[in-house]
């Protein structure tokens, strides 16, 4: 305890000297000269701002912390967020306050919507750093188009790939024999089983993703989604989406008066038998939860028949990060076969890898070959088509409109 106090006291001193030193940090980091990056990263504290709602993911990040500390001598601190927007907010505020050096956020686990927002506001390092990370060579650029275009925004090496996501539904086969795989069947099932289905409230990412999924299935012209929202047409083209949600609402869990908060709550609700169908962005989540004794082993997954929303998630570094080198070293480690295989392990997290596994050196490939697919995970050929993320403006507009419609006002 005293030691911590002493440490905190000395941190004040350090902080003051850091402010005084100020400009010394200003020069750019050159990831092409990797050994100098690794050298500079030694001893740095990297504040990794990442969603902290899932214990298994937190445990994985803690493991990453141990590994990078052992290998590179840097300290990784997981700042647990309940919404990634909070980290963006910090950087925005710091920029506005003129804190262009020594910012409090070093690395952010980010999705397309926030990436687009940060890129637009010039809150990211203005150089192509991620493609120069040594481990980037194994990323499956050819096979996974979402690694280069995130929600239609070009990545331009300003964020580094971390994992793949695909909207997947799961259910308890002991209760429900054949899951509904079309929107119409889903609506009929909800009508027949009132109170046993819900989604997360947007702007939680799984909630927003569900809206996009339904939008894809109901919109007349899917190509509209590749371009920014046209305000004038929004009401008309999204009318079938709202009609569908309105149709579900009376028979939703709690009659649609409340919605789930996130994927973790959906999982709990399914585990308790409160709902019959849950959804996740991580195709390995159900198997992973069976392993952790959180779900019964009769749980199985399915996807909707017209394809499902898929994207990649990334890590990025704000322009004013205090430990840019350290953040890059961590991003590079996250891309390593070791870290990616562990992440894909359903006993750990079950998040699909961004690497081209067949291109890996034998040692790395062996790590993936050793992984086993749990009973609730779909095989590669069962996933169906991937629906690409609409332009980032759609998410903002959908979230806004959802709140207008479903948040009560009196």
């Amino acid at each position: 305890m005293l030691k911590t106090l002493a440490k905190n006291l000395s941190a004040i001193g350090l902080l003051t000297s850091a402010i005084l030193a100020g400009a010394a940090h200003a020069q750019d980091v050159e990831p092409a000269d990797w050994s100098s990056v690794v050298e500079a990263a030694k001893g740095q504290e990297v504040y990794f701002n990442a969603w902290g709602g899932a214990p298994n993911i937190n445990a994985y990040i803690a493991w990453v912390g141990e590994r990078v500390e052992a290998e590179y001598g840097l300290k990784l601190v997981h700042v647990k967020l309940d919404d990634t927007a909070n980290a963006v907010n910090r950087v925005v505020t710091e920029k506005a306050a003129g804190r262009n050096e020594g910012g409090s956020v070093d690395l952010i686990w980010i999705n397309g919507e926030n990436f687009a927002s940060m890129k637009r506001q010039s809150l990211l390092i203005d150089q192509n750093w991620s493609e120069q990370l040594p481990n980037y060579q194994y990323a499956d650029i050819a096979g996974k188009p979402t690694l280069t275009y995130d929600f239609t925004v070009p990545v331009d090496g300003q964020e580094s790939p971390w994992g793949m996501a695909q909207l997947t539904f799961y259910y308890d086969s002991a209760w429900l024999e054949t899951p509904p795989t079309s929107l119409e069947d889903l609506a009929l099932w909800v009508e027949k089983n009132p109170g046993r289905f819900t989604y997360a409230a947007p702007p939680n990412f799984i909630g927003t993703t569900f809206l996009k999924q339904v939008l894809y299935g109901t919109i007349a012209d899917q190509s509209l989604l590749r371009a920014p929202v046209v305000e004038a047409d929004f009401d008309e083209v999204t009318a079938p989406l709202w009609a569908y949600l309105d149709r579900l609402k009376p028979n939703l869990w709690r009659s649609g008066e409340v919605y789930a908060a996130d994927t973790t709550q959906l999982k709990n609700l399914l585990a308790d038998g409160e709902i019959g169908i849950a959804m996740t962005f991580n195709p390995g989540e159900a198997s992973s939860a069976i392993n952790a004794q959180e779900l019964p082993d009769t749980v199985r997954s399915f996807v909707l028949d017209y394809g499902s929303m898929g994207n990649s998630h990334f890590v990025t570094i704000p322009y004013n990060a205090n430990a840019k080198e350290g953040a890059m070293v961590v991003a590079n480690f996250l891309l390593s076969a070791e870290a990616q295989a562990r992440k894909a392990d359903e006993n750990v997290w079950g998040d699909p890898s961004v690497l081209d596994i067949n291109a890996l050196p034998a040692e790395g490939k062996a790590m993936f070959d050793a992984l086993q697919r749990g009973p609730a995970t779909l095989a590669a050929d069962e996933f169906g088509a991937t629906l690409l993320e609409p332009d980032a403006t759609w998410a903002v507009k959908l979230e806004e409109e959802w709140a207008n419609r479903y948040v009560r006002s009196n």
Partner: protein, 567 residues
Amino acid sequence: MHNKAKGWGDPLVLAPVLMIVALTGPLIAGLAGVLLPAFGFFPTLGGKHFTLSFLHEVTHKPGFWYSVQLSIWIGVATTFLSLVIVISFFAAQWGSPTFQRLSRFISPLMSVPHAAAAFGFAFLIAPSGWIVRLFSPWATGFNHPPDWLVINDPAGNALLIGLVLKEIPFIFLVALSASSQINVDERLKVARSLGYGRVWSWFIAVFPTLYKQLRLPIYAVIAFSSSVVDVALILGPNFPAMLPVQLLRWMNDPELEMRFVAAAGAVWQLGATLLALISWRIGEALVGYIGRRLTISGERQKNDHWFRALATLMMAIVIVTFVLSMIILAVWSCAGFWRFPNALPSGFTFSRWLENAGSVWTPVVNAMSIAITSTMICVALTLACLENEFRRDIQFTPAALRILYLPLIVPQIAFLFGISVFLVRYGLDGSFWPVTLAHTIFVLPYVFLSLAAPFRNFDLRYLQVASSLGVSQNKVLFSVRLPMLLKPILLAIALGIAISIAQYLPTLLIGAGRLPTITTEAVALAAGGDRRLIGIYALVQTLLPAIGFIAASLVPRAAFPDRKFFR
């Protein structure tokens, strides 16, 4: 006679000044940091002109007025229900063995942090919670949890009851300490000798005087409940949430402009809390008027058995619910797979505790370093103030008492947001000292109130004897008074630590997520997080202050085993 120090040479005179600065300085700075951006002026964030547009804009957010109503309602209703249950129990059972028995549970419950109590309560009453499980399926026929809207209900009933559970121990203890200052027994004796019933005697002869002493703490409860964030995140409505929760969301919005909207919302929060206080004040007048009419009617109200039974039952239900909430946290923390509607998990395992020992450690160390440092500052400042008051023979005025309550009555979220804006400007957020000093603001009133009475009531003859032996005032203080006050000082420290550990908003807003404490980590798990993990965090959060209180009661005996004084 002891000498009174004269003049300004004594550094002790700085103590009250420091105290007032510590209590009001951050408040004023924080309110400025909210008011300026609310009116559109905050050049750092790009606002260069005064405008009313943000105050107007915020009212167009979906569900805004509902959020405002909810805040006012929760503030008033929580306080009313808690107060009614406590005073009815006092009236019904004052002086009885039942009173003694039940009140023994109250102090430990007071030290349970709000968030932990809320989690336990949620685990108890949810449709998939323990109560339904215990009665299913044999009594209810449920094989799946019923689709009942219990937790997070739009009307805020779960939040209301959760807050009532937690405010009752506080009001109970304040009422108990106030009762010791107003000769309750003699008042009752007079009223009863005039033929009034037992309960009615208490209401007409004790309550009016007692309430005067309760007024400020009651106002603090109203203000707290109308602006609470952590409990509202766990039990409260979501669509829309209570105003303070909405504020927190807007503050965290990635759009810069939302900072101004959030500040404007904070001004509305001040208004909502103020309105809750004003409605209460009107209620006070109304109750006073009706009470006087009833009193002069001369009714003796002797038939009060039903009232006594009901009041006692209510208090018993509160205590049982609270205790069960704590037990269910412990059960979940080591539960294996637990399918509904089984009454208990299919197995118990400590693996979660072991797996999470590492991640619990840092927030515990953070929480304890902040709590101990801020409490020590508060205790030192309080003792310096009290000693200064004693040496100078100054009376503590009611106005000064009001200053003490100021940080408890102005909604935290309104001024902490303002402080954080300044801190970000100077890059000071997210470090140890700002967070600790922010905690000090909220710990100080409690430490002062708990230490003031024992310090002032100290038997002066001990000091006179010591002075007559020719030692200095400082020596008298350090060798006689403070050692003999060891027990109340340790209790004040334990209380201070408990208050600090339970703080959510100051840690979150000033700490910028870089100083996670056990409380911020537990609340972050709120919204339907992993229940086993919540069980662990909430239990640890509860145990930390409990350890403090146990130590406070054991240390004096251990330190002076041969002194009867400490038995």
